[in-house]
C-alpha cells in the first residue's frame, strides 16, 4: 500500500500551533493556490523560464512541508533542484507525477479538514 499523502502528525501539530479553525482556512487557501503554482510550473516549462520554474517549485515545496505533504514535497524539491535540466529538456511529462500527487494531497487535506 502507498504512503498517506499527508503526514497526520505534522498536520495535527499545525492545528495545535495555529488553531484548527485557522488551519481549515489555510487549507482552503492552499487548495486555491496550488493549481496556480502547478499552472506556473507548466507555463514556465513551456516558456523556458528557469527562474519562474524554480520559484514555483520552491513555493510548492514550502507549502507541502507546512501541511506534511511529504511525497509532494519531495517531488517539488526535485524539480527545484533540477530546474535547469528540466526546463532545458522542456518535457511536460516531468510534471505528471507532481500533478497526480497534488490531486491526492488535495483530497487528503479536504478529508482532514472536514473531519
Amino acid at each position: 500500500m502507498t504512503d498517506p499523502a499527508i503526514d497526520v502528525a505534522t498536520f495535527r501539530s499545525l492545528q495545535e500551533a495555529a488553531g484548527a479553525e485557522f488551519v481549515a482556512e489555510l487549507v482552503g487557501t492552499f487548495l486555491d493556490e496550488a493549481p496556480r503554482m502547478t499552472g506556473q510550473l507548466a507555463a514556465a516549462l513551456a516558456a523556458g523560464d528557469e527562474e519562474m520554474f524554480r520559484r514555483a517549485a520552491h513555493s510548492l515545496k514550502s507549502n507541502s512541508m507546512t501541511f506534511g505533504a511529504m511525497a509532494l514535497e519531495a517531488l517539488a524539491r526535485g524539480l527545484e533542484l533540477d530546474a535547469r535540466d528540466v526546463v532545458k529538456a522542456g518535457d511536460p511529462g516531468a510534471l505528471v507525477a507532481l500533478a497526480a500527487e497534488q490531486q491526492r494531497v488535495a483530497a487528503a487535506l479536504k478529508e482532514l479538514r472536514d473531519a
Binding site: 500551533a17 489555510l26 520559484r55
Partner: protein, 351 residues
C-alpha cells in the same frame, strides 16, 4: 518612538506565497504581536518607508524584488538599517544563509518555521532592537541631529579633521548676579526658555551646538556637515538671537523682572573639528586659534558695549550684506597680538 512591550511589536511578514504569509502572520498574532503582510520586496520596502516596524520576517524567493535586494536596500537606508530582519526561507544550501547574514540579516529560520523557535528568536531580536532604540533616543537628547547623523554615517572615532567653519560663543550678560538674586528653580526655568529660544535661532541657520556650560554656548557653523556661507549664517543667527532676547526682555520687564542681554563673539577660518574625550564620553567640538578669538570677542562684548562682535575673516565673508562698524584692533585677554574687531549693527537692540 513609543516604548513597546515585548509582546506588542509591529512586525512585517514578507512572502510571495499566500499560505506562508497567512501562517506566519497567524503565528505572530498568537504570540501577541501585530503583523502586517507584503507579497513581495517592492511592496515591503514601500511599507517600511511609510510606517515604522519593529522587525521584518523576510522570505528570499520572491518575484519583482527578492529578499536579497530588500536586505541590500535596507542596509543602504539610514532609516531602515536598524530594523532587524529575520529571514524565513526554505532555500536549498548554506550559501544563501551565509549571504543573508552577510547582508545584515539578524537570523535565519528554515521553513516551515517552528513556532517555539520563532518565538524565541523574535524576543531576542526585539530585545536587541529595544536597546538600540534606547541608545538612539539618548543620542537624540544629548547630541544635535547633525552630529547624530554624522555618527550614523561615518561612525564614531576620536580625533579631528581640518575644516573651514565659523564658531560662535554666546552667554548671558550678568548671569551670575541674576542667578544669585532668584531661587535656583527659577534660574533653571529661565535657562530652559533661553536655550529653547537660542537653539531655535541656531538650528534655523544651520548651526550645531557643541558645548553648553551654564548660560554659555559654543556653536559651530560648517561642521560636521559643510555649510556654504557659514560666516553669514552665523551672523544672521546672532542677529536673530539678539532680537529674540530683546523681545523676551520686553515680556520679562512687563512681568517686573530684569531684562536679559546676551553677548556673542564670532570668528571664521580653519579649525580642527572632531570628537574629543574618551571612547566612553566624548563631545563633538572644534579647537584652534579661531575658536580662541571667538571666545575672546564674546568676552569683549561687555567692554565694547556691543552685543555682537566678529573678526576680520567673518566680516570679509559678509560683504556689504550686513552693516558692521569697525572697532579697530582690540586687545583681548590671552592674546599678544590685538584682534581686528567689528561690531554687527543689531537692528532692534542695543547692548
Amino acid at each position: 518612538m513609543r516604548e513597546r512591550g515585548p509582546a506588542d511589536a509591529r512586525l512585517l511578514v514578507v512572502d510571495d506565497n499566500k499560505v506562508n504569509r497567512l501562517l506566519l502572520a497567524r503565528q505572530l498574532e498568537l504570540a501577541g504581536h501585530r503583523a502586517a503582510t507584503a507579497e513581495n520586496g517592492r511592496v515591503a520596502l514601500e511599507m517600511l518607508r511609510r510606517e515604522p516596524f519593529d522587525l521584518v520576517l523576510l522570505d528570499m524567493e520572491m518575484p519583482e524584488m527578492d529578499g536579497f535586494q530588500v536586505l541590500e536596500q535596507m542596509v543602504g537606508d539610514l532609516a531602515l538599517r536598524d530594523v532587524p530582519v529575520i529571514v524565513t526561507s526554505s532555500l536549498e544550501g548554506i550559501d544563501s544563509v551565509v549571504r543573508c547574514i552577510g547582508l545584515g540579516a539578524e537570523d535565519y529560520l528554515h521553513k516551515p518555521v517552528n513556532p517555539v523557535l520563532l518565538k524565541a528568536r523574535l524576543s531576542a531580536s526585539l530585545e536587541k532592537k529595544r536597546l538600540r532604540d534606547r541608545q538612539k533616543e539618548l543620542m537624540r537628547r544629548f547630541a544635535t541631529p547633525e552630529v547624530e547623523k554624522d555618527l550614523e554615517t561615518s561612525g564614531f572615532a576620536l580625533g579631528g579633521k581640518r575644516v573651514e567653519a565659523t564658531v560662535m560663543f554666546v552667554d548671558i550678560r550678568g548671569f551670575t548676579t541674576l542667578a544669585e538674586s532668584q531661587p535656583p528653580e527659577e534660574t533653571i526655568e529661565l535657562l530652559n526658555t533661553y536655550y529653547t529660544l537660542m537653539f531655535d535661532a541656531i538650528a534655523g541657520h544651520g548651526g550645531v551646538v557643541s558645548l553648553m556650560i551654564g548660560d554659555g554656548l559654543m556653536v559651530i557653523f560648517g561642521a560636521p556637515v559643510p555649510l556654504p556661507g557659514h560666516a553669514e549664517a552665523a551672523v544672521r543667527a546672532a542677529l536673530e538671537m539678539v532680537e529674540t532676547m530683546a523681545l523676551f526682555s520686553v515680556e520679562r520687564t512687563a512681568a517686573g523682572k530684569a531684562p536679559l542681554k546676551i553677548g556673542i563673539g564670532i570668528a571664521s577660518g580653519t579649525m580642527v573639528a572632531g570628537y574629543v574625550g574618551t571612547n566612553e564620553r566624548a563631545t563633538y567640538t572644534c579647537v584652534g586659534d579661531v575658536v580662541n578669538v571667538a571666545s575672546r570677542l564674546e568676552s569683549h562684548t561687555k567692554a565694547a558695549q556691543r552685543p555682537i562682535l566678529i573678526d576680520a575673516a567673518t566680516r570679509a565673508a559678509l560683504g556689504e550684506r550686513v552693516p558692521v562698524e569697525p572697532l579697530g584692533p582690540v586687545e583681548v585677554k590671552g592674546r599678544a597680538a590685538p584682534v581686528e574687531a567689528f561690531a554687527v549693527v543689531a537692528l532692534s537692540s542695543s547692548a
